[in-house]
């Protein structure tokens, strides 16, 4: 068969078509409900706790690329892990500034609820261009807000992170860096406490995870020299989902709860 330039040209344009027909969706093997590798802390069942709401609602339905995530989040509302809490609680909404996005204890006046239920006076029902949230997911949001819209508790972090990964070193009468993370000691050793040697940095700055030295140590942010090594020392290091729980606790005020 004689191949003319035109035939070659047209066949080239068909390549992407057949390429895409051959493209398959992923099997999801080894991934959690948000498409991230399973690490033991994901696949959290739906409940009225912030960790569950983040994993089951905000991350899959709201913090999708081009919506409430990234460098240009819709309405300036970031709902990614470690950002959702500080962007919601007692923050006035862009569309109706008289209403807070989440008013702890006041479900019906929380703008978030109006947006997902489609009763807001301004703008579209969320998630935009997607089916509405299921009744179960909306109820989880309602439960979270009616119970005070709490962030992660220190007691849960103590049990699941500090006790599991930190106190094998950071315990006793002479802990490394003078930091004791045992149950009953962690709060007074962390929150608004300068790190060792009276360096100006604060281990945990309540409501500001980015300014907290603890986060730098866990995420390996600008360490070295006098700031030491990433923790847990010599690894394995905490995955980002786990660190984000600590971030949420700090951003929620780093309460002794």
């Amino acid at each position: 068969m004689k191949l003319t330039i035109k035939k070659i040209y047209t066949k080239l344009f068909l390549l992407p078509f057949f390429l895409l027909v051959a493209c398959d969706a992923g099997t999801g093997e080894g991934l959690d409900q948000n498409g991230k590798p399973v690490n033991g802390n994901n696949n959290i069942p739906l409940s009225g706790q912030i960790n569950s709401i983040q994993a089951n609602i905000f991350t899959p339905s709201c913090a999708t690329s081009g919506c409430h995530s990234g460098s240009a989040p819709a309405e300036g509302l970031l709902l990614t892990e470690s950002n959702s809490f500080i962007n919601l609680i007692n923050v006035s909404s862009n569309e109706v500034p008289l209403l807070n996005r989440v008013e702890p204890g006041n479900v019906d006046d929380s703008y978030l609820i109006r947006k997902v239920e489609g009763t807001a006076s301004v703008g579209l029902q969320m998630p935009r261009n997607r089916p509405a949230l299921s009744a179960e997911k909306i109820q989880a949001l309602r439960d979270w807000i009616s119970n005070g819209a709490l962030g992660p508790t220190l007691s849960s972090i103590q049990a699941n992170i500090f006790n599991q990964r930190c106190i094998s070193c950071h315990s006793g009468s002479n802990p490394p860096a003078g930091l004791n993370l045992e149950d009953g000691q962690s709060f007074s050793n962390l929150v608004n406490v300068q790190r060792l040697f009276n360096q100006p940095e604060i281990r945990v700055v309540a409501s500001d995870a980015n300014a907290s030295f603890l986060i730098d140590k866990l995420e390996n942010n600008n360490l070295g020299n006098s700031r030491g090594d990433q923790m847990p020392l010599n690894g394995p290091y905490l995955d980002q989902d786990t660190i984000n729980v600590i971030r949420d606790w700090i951003n929620a005020g780093a309460l002794n709860n």
Partner: protein, 351 residues
């Protein structure tokens, strides 16, 4: 099954070789966006040429309308209505079926001076909000635009839910405030925009978004590329794409390949591919196939998703279009929302 239908339909197109949006119309005619739209980068109010061309699409193309939206020689109005019935099915959840007014807009364009124009695009439903409002100064092949406008980046698809528009965050819902410089000369078209980078929301920092789009346009094909950089206090996004549109075998092909790099707490790279094929079966009837691919994180295996659509577009009379079709989303089973299937019938009317 759907894959087989696509394959068969594609094969039909290939074998029959019958000679023979919306960007596909630009591919069909070889014109730039500004030939049919008041906005130099497309979308929104149509020019006189765009109105006339819209008439010619209808199966009863000889029918003309006595309606005029011109308030004077220099002030014109326009509008769009899109709405319809939609049925969505997400695995594990109840079917949702609803009548929706997707978008109703009214436009006003005033030619203040020979080189100075003013434009407003106001959305009336389902929510009353300003989409774009800008002033443009035209000088020779250059223009300067200031105000709120759609960011120049890639192919300006009407479907905001297409991966390449939803995931890039550059679509008809995310007009931004800033300035834009455009240059068009013979076969070249380019735009450079500097905006807040907040998708129209209030700016609260000094960081900005920069977007550049460059395309080479001929009567049969066009090839282009875009880059976009957007920084905020919490994240940085770099995007790059190449896109092509061509009329081959009397079918209009649209292809766009995007790479997105997001640096937030962690850095992720994402890749998107979009292919659309249009064929005018008979006058007034267009068949559209779209195939989309999304790799959310190129460092993670088995997380990819696809979305395929088959749409029939019918232009029964001038200034009206009926679209019906279905979309099949496939993603990992752990994310039911990525496995959404939709059937829809929409009415689109404009003036």
């Amino acid at each position: 099954m759907l894959r087989f239908i696509y394959f068969s339909t594609g094969l039909f197109f290939l074998l029959t070789q019958v000679s023979f949006a919306e960007p596909y119309l630009a591919a069909r005619t070889g014109h730039q966006c500004m030939a049919c739209h008041v906005s130099p980068t497309g979308g929104g109010m149509r020019t006189d040429f765009g109105q006339i061309y819209g008439h010619s699409l209808a199966s009863s193309g000889s029918e003309t309308s006595a309606f005029s939206a011109s308030l004077s020689d220099s002030i014109h109005m326009g509008g769009d209505f899109r709405g319809g019935l939609q049925n969505s099915r997400t695995p594990g959840e109840k079917n949702q079926s609803s009548f929706e007014t997707k978008r109703a807009n009214i436009y006003l364009h005033a030619q203040l001076l020979e080189n100075l124009s003013f434009y407003v695009d106001q959305q009336l439903a389902p929510a009353n909000e300003n989409r774009t409002a800008w002033v443009k100064y035209q000088a020779s092949n250059y223009y300067l635009r200031a105000g709120q406008f759609f960011i120049p980046y890639g192919i300006r698809l009407e479907d905001d839910t297409a991966f390449i528009r939803q995931i890039t965050g550059i679509n008809f819902a995310t007009a931004d405030n800033g300035i834009e410089i455009g240059w068009d000369n013979n076969n070249w078209s380019s735009q450079l925009a500097l905006t807040n980078g907040t998708a129209g929301a209030t700016e609260n920092n000094e960081d900005k978004q920069l977007s550049l789009r460059l395309a080479y346009i001929t009567s049969k094909w066009r090839l282009g590329s875009s880059v976009n950089y957007n920084k905020s206090p919490t994240a940085t996004r770099d995007m790059f794409n190449i896109f092509a549109m061509a009329s081959v075998w009397n079918m209009e092909w649209l292809i766009e390949l995007d790479q997105i790099e997001d640096a937030e707490i962690q850095t992720t790279k994402r890749q998107l591919l979009f292919v659309e094929v249009n064929k005018e079966i008979i006058k007034g009837h267009n068949l559209k196939l779209t195939m989309e691919f999304d790799d959310p994180d190129i460092d993670i295996d088995e997380d990819e998703r696809t979305r395929n659509s088959l749409v029939w577009e019918y232009f029964p009379v001038p200034q009206m279009q009926i679209r019906t079709g279905f979309r099949d989303g496939e993603g990992i089973p752990q994310k039911p929302e990525d496995n959404l299937n939709e059937i829809f019938m929409n009415l689109h009317a404009w003036f």
